[in-house]
Symmetry: C2
Subunit: 185 residues, 2 copies
């Protein structure tokens, strides 16, 4: 394998191991086995599984997600829900994200990285959506983007990552309408 | 120690160990050490850490939480948020619940027990609140209790268990008002 291919194989193996066994049980041995490389190939690149996971989360964060700009609050909220639902329905993400959030409560470095990768991006997107809506007069000036995120993503996260029951047809449309009613209450 | 005191000490130790190291890393040794008892005292009562945790979750479920009955949808939603916020702000619960939800995705037995302990109770409470509100004409007949739970508890869980940022004064009042606007949208 080329050096870049080895790095890529290790990265893919980490996500798969995280999903399969979780951060606590994950080992460098398990990652190397799944990637089809030797342990030293992993240790040459990252000094520990924590360093490895932090590096991966940071890379995901860098990809970012652009703020939707549909011209209406409903359109923007609907688009944000669509992206989040796709992410949360992905088998790897739906396992890895809640697991890392649990670890975040014990490891400040993971907390910072997860916050950077998952929350700062979302908060930035929410801030832009809320500001655009305020400029159009759809939300009051100075509306709180954190509150907006709670009301828009909270119900979706609860349903897809906590309760994990199937959502009925039209659920995202209904949620967008409900969230906007909540935002403007 | 009396036999009942030993059992109680083990139960308390399990919650503390779950909060401190999580289900994956928790061992019968660690539990016994924290409880100040021998390993055999644990094994005499429960055959594995999975059996132990399942038994504890089931006991918590049995305690249940009565449905609030304040006479108004706003009062009931506010009361439900109050109980959930207290539970999620508890250091043990805010660590143990997300951890067990992660394990639930890997162990069907944990999924069933967690569902029984955390969700069935909440869903029952939501069903009673929604039914009472429909009888008073505050919600349409046949309103979906699962949707109500998504809209009421989702934002709170997101804020307290995922984002983990402090909530401003009056947050629960605001959330109750927002959730009702969402419910009736």
């Amino acid at each position: 394998m080329l050096r870049e291919d080895v790095t890529e194989a290790i990265r893919a193996a980490v996500f798969e191991e995280l999903a399969a066994v979780g951060f606590a049980r994950m080992s460098i041995e398990g990652i190397a086995r799944r990637a089809g490389v030797g342990k030293t190939a992993v240790y040459r690149r990252w000094k520990s599984k924590l360093a490895l996971v932090l590096d991966l989360i940071t890379a995901v964060a860098a990809e970012g997600a652009p703020a939707p700009d549909t011209g209406s609050l409903h359109g923007d909220v609907r688009a944000l829900l669509e992206v989040a639902a796709a992410a949360l329905s992905h088998p790897v993400a739906s396992q890895v994200v809640p697991d890392l959030l649990v670890e975040a409560a014990r490891h400040p470095e993971i907390a910072d990285a997860v916050r950077g990768a998952l929350l700062d991006g979302r908060q930035g997107v929410a801030a832009r959506i809320v500001r655009a809506a305020a400029e159009r007069g759809e939300l009051p000036e100075g509306a709180d983007p954190d509150r907006a995120l709670d009301l828009v993503l909270g119900p979706l996260y609860w349903r897809l990552a906590v309760v994990r029951t199937p959502v009925p047809d039209g659920y995202l449309d209904d949620l967008a309408r409900s969230a906007i009613a909540a935002l403007t209450a």
